[in-house]
Amino acid sequence: MTLCGDVPQPGVVEVAGGARLSDALGRSGLDAASVRAVLVGGYHGAWLPASDLATPLTRDALRPFGAAPGAGVLMVLGARRCGIRQASIIASYLAAQSARQCGPCLNGLPAMASTLARVAAMDRSPALVDRLRRLAELVSGRGSCHHPDGTARFVFSALTAFADDVDAHRHGFCREATR
């Protein structure tokens, strides 16, 4: 699997089929206490919180999280990092990667990214999260490829995994800024 993000040594590690997420992370010498969440399956995947590191990296075990082993990419978010800031950076990247062939993706992904960027920037408008969810539903299944579906899945997952960050931002705090 490919380990990246807040890990001591990013790179490719060999992991037995069905190994637990924590086993895979341990291969890079990572201390589980330093983990906030792990993005499983790449940018089109889903976040698993630190409390679920014992989850086996199988389709069945990852399904409840909306995740799948996918291309075998694990991105670690460190314990002191803000998940919403990180998710906003990734959503902007994904919006920029649209092939720009289908209207819902061409328009919807930048709209999703900019709305998430406002949440990340601690904009307190109460309707932002609802709009984000509505946009993610709107782009799902409406494209000739699954880029919008994967991006919507990523955004939904970030809103669930980092609901506390969303709440903190709404009150003018960010865990990264208050270190």
Binding site: C102, P104, N107
Partner: protein, 77 residues
């Protein structure tokens, strides 16, 4: 195949790479398709393949024939 008979359902397929959100189909199939905030057709709960009830078949055929971007197709499944 465009004619649906008996238990077969007909679906309207939207080719998103062709669709430009001109809005003709959302007018002809107003009960089935809405348009999103950018003008592209949207059917709640369905993505690119929208089931068409028998009563709307004629309007669906018309949408396919008149779409200025040739972005629609009818399929019997």
């Amino acid at each position: 195949m465009t004619g649906a008979t008996g238990a077969r359902t007909t679906t309207l397929h939207i080719d998103w790479t062709r669709c430009d959100g001109r809005g003709l189909c959302t007018e002809l199939l107003a009960g089935i398709l809405e348009h999103d905030e950018w003008g592209y057709p949207s059917a709640i709960g369905h993505g690119s393949d929208v089931p068409i009830p028998a009563g709307e078949l004629e309007a669906a055929r018309e949408s396919v024939a008149l779409c200025p971007r040739l972005a629609l197709g009818l399929h019997a499944t």
